[in-house]
Symmetry: C2
Subunit: 352 residues, 2 copies
């Protein structure tokens, strides 16, 4: 007999980092910003007209789009916004990756890429990073149906030079190249200046990390007008109104406060460099992270053991039980106080 | 030479109702609720902890899901939430409609169904409503890869009897049957009681109409645990965190205020029945709408002409330039004062 189960799309879903909720916890596991959003966000919430919630939001999210365009010096027609950069990248996969050839991305990278490819039935090939976890641009000149990589990469934290990024974009006029810049604001040069020369480049960023708004779900992409128009068409074929009223208004307020943004990023970078040195003193080897997290391996104690020890003390970091990286911890940069708690726990355990 | 344009998904996007923004306008074109959300929503916004916005929201939107489950007397595992019912239905299309056989939906219906089918490459067949715009359940026993219809239907406003809904669900064990109940709270029996007997039924509802929260983008689906688990897997393969913090908390507060909800729906139903009588006096023929809008055709003046005349006076109603319904106006039920302004404009124009 016919069974509705026969027509179900079967997928292996992404498993997000756990979201524990203990009053005493030190949460360094999902790369959130330790500082609150710019003060304008609270102001917006306080003054929000709840009566207007009965009305649909602006489907173009115009106020938010204009604030992003103004900040980055591009035209509003070059900006696409979505419900976090996950929504933005999912839309980009649907829009641009419709070839029979495999899309390419690094073997060690944001693990959602393969989940999206599976979900949307897109063939893909994972390109191995070299032994130092470095991406080799030459590997991306093979025939492909599209390219995506994070810069800086996650969970390694390693950034690619602007020339290397450009060489990938230049050698692939037949593909859209997506540079996922979720962590770019912590010390990496953005690919945005390349937009003047290449219409096959899509740069994706997020409010979840450097702009302290993971709770609001705001991501965006910047590209050529033509590229963005293609994405808008698909977006308006899935959901016309993705950004709710608080997202639009809080996002705008946060994007407009450049001073607060710069100051927050600077503090996180300072804490990162200090924490890195402290971890090295404890016997850790670390990559040169340009993100708001560290990627650390201890010379004698297995990462999994450290992960579990910290977890018992309600200090949450991320551990990936995956080939090549199963002896590393990904540690989000918290406040200096939070990092002190982490370091103290490690010192005690390692007898240092 | 290879061109990235060759791999772009080309779609004909949905065109949403315009969102004009005049200070003096009477906005009766996108079926928004004329009353503000329940007072708890404003309370939530005022007390919201902006500091927490730096943290990801609960990916399961647990507080909101539990409030919906409690209200409808189902298990939280039977509830799926999304960014408006458009997001929920798009996810359901992706999850359940993967057959080579066409999915079925009425020829006159929510125009997004064919847009989703096109976007997701799902074959479809539009089943004509009868001459009185009634859906005939027997038409839905043909071979199919899935079924969706709104109850009550839009833009006709006409509701289907519970027996008719059940006969469609019963005769299609090989398909998921989606009943889109966006307007159910304005006087139609929900299909929810059928969930005890059928595991192939998915009931979709929204906060955008009866719960006055179009601006927040909250929709939900209720079905068997197994059906909902399939949707969750796909959702977690596209975007783990769809509901932002304000949505979860405001949605919960609104769902918990049953008295306000009942009172608001009652007022809208009363205004609808009164406005219907008044329009009949002016020479309009109307369907028996069980929604928060009226579907009206004038016996001598073309709908398009009336639409334009009203538009010039900043009274916005909806006109569909589509076969069979191009002589109808869809008029959202506003406050009694707003309906008086509409009626006065029509009386003047029609010399009544």
């Amino acid at each position: 007999m016919a069974d509705w189960r026969d027509n179900v799309r079967r997928v292996v879903p992404y498993v997000a980092g756990e979201q524990p909720n203990w009053p005493d916890m030190v949460k360094l596991n999902t790369n959130e910003n330790p500082y609150p959003p710019a003060p304008g966000a609270a102001e917006v919430l306080k003054n929000m007209n709840t009566e207007q919630m009965r009305l649909y939001p602006d489907p173009t999210a115009g106020d938010l789009v204009k604030a992003i365009a103004a900040y980055y010096g591009v035209d509003p027609e070059q900006v696409f916004v979505g419900v976090g950069s996950d929504d933005v990248i999912a839309m980009a996969f649907m829009t641009f990756f419709n070839s029979d050839k495999p899309i390419l991305f690094p073997d060690i990278s944001y693990s959602f890429y393969e989940v999206w490819a599976d979900c949307f039935r897109i063939p893909y090939r994972q390109v191995p990073l070299d032994a130092d976890f470095k991406l080799q641009p030459a590997d991306y000149s093979a025939e492909n149906g599209g390219i995506i990589f994070p810069n800086p990469n996650a969970p390694t934290g390693i950034a690619l030079e602007p020339d290397a990024v450009e060489s990938i974009v230049r050698s692939n006029p037949g593909s859209v190249v997506i540079v996922d810049e979720a962590y770019v604001d912590f010390g990496t040069a953005s690919a945005l200046p390349l937009l003047e020369k290449y219409d096959n480049l899509l740069v994706v960023q997020t409010f979840s990390k450097s702009r302290s708004m993971a709770g609001m779900r705001i991501g965006f992409a910047i590209g050529s007008r033509e590229l963005i128009a293609c994405m808008q068409d698909v977006k308006y074929s899935v959901n016309s109104y993705t950004m709710n009223r608080p997202s639009i208004l809080m996002g705008k307020a946060v994007m407009e406060d450049e001073a607060y943004f710069r100051e927050t990023c600077k503090k996180i970078i300072q804490t990162r460099e200090w924490a890195k040195e402290e971890l090295e003193k404890l016997g850790f080897t670390l990559t040169d992270s340009k993100t708001n997290f560290l990627f650390a391996s201890h010379r004698s104690v297995p990462a999994k053991k450290l992960f579990q020890m910290l977890r018992e003390k309600h200090i949450f970091v991320r551990y990936f039980d995956r080939p090549r990286i199963d002896n590393y911890l990904r540690i989000t940069i918290g406040t200096k106080e939070e990092m002190e708690i982490l370091l103290a726990a490690l010192r005690t355990y390692l007898n240092k």
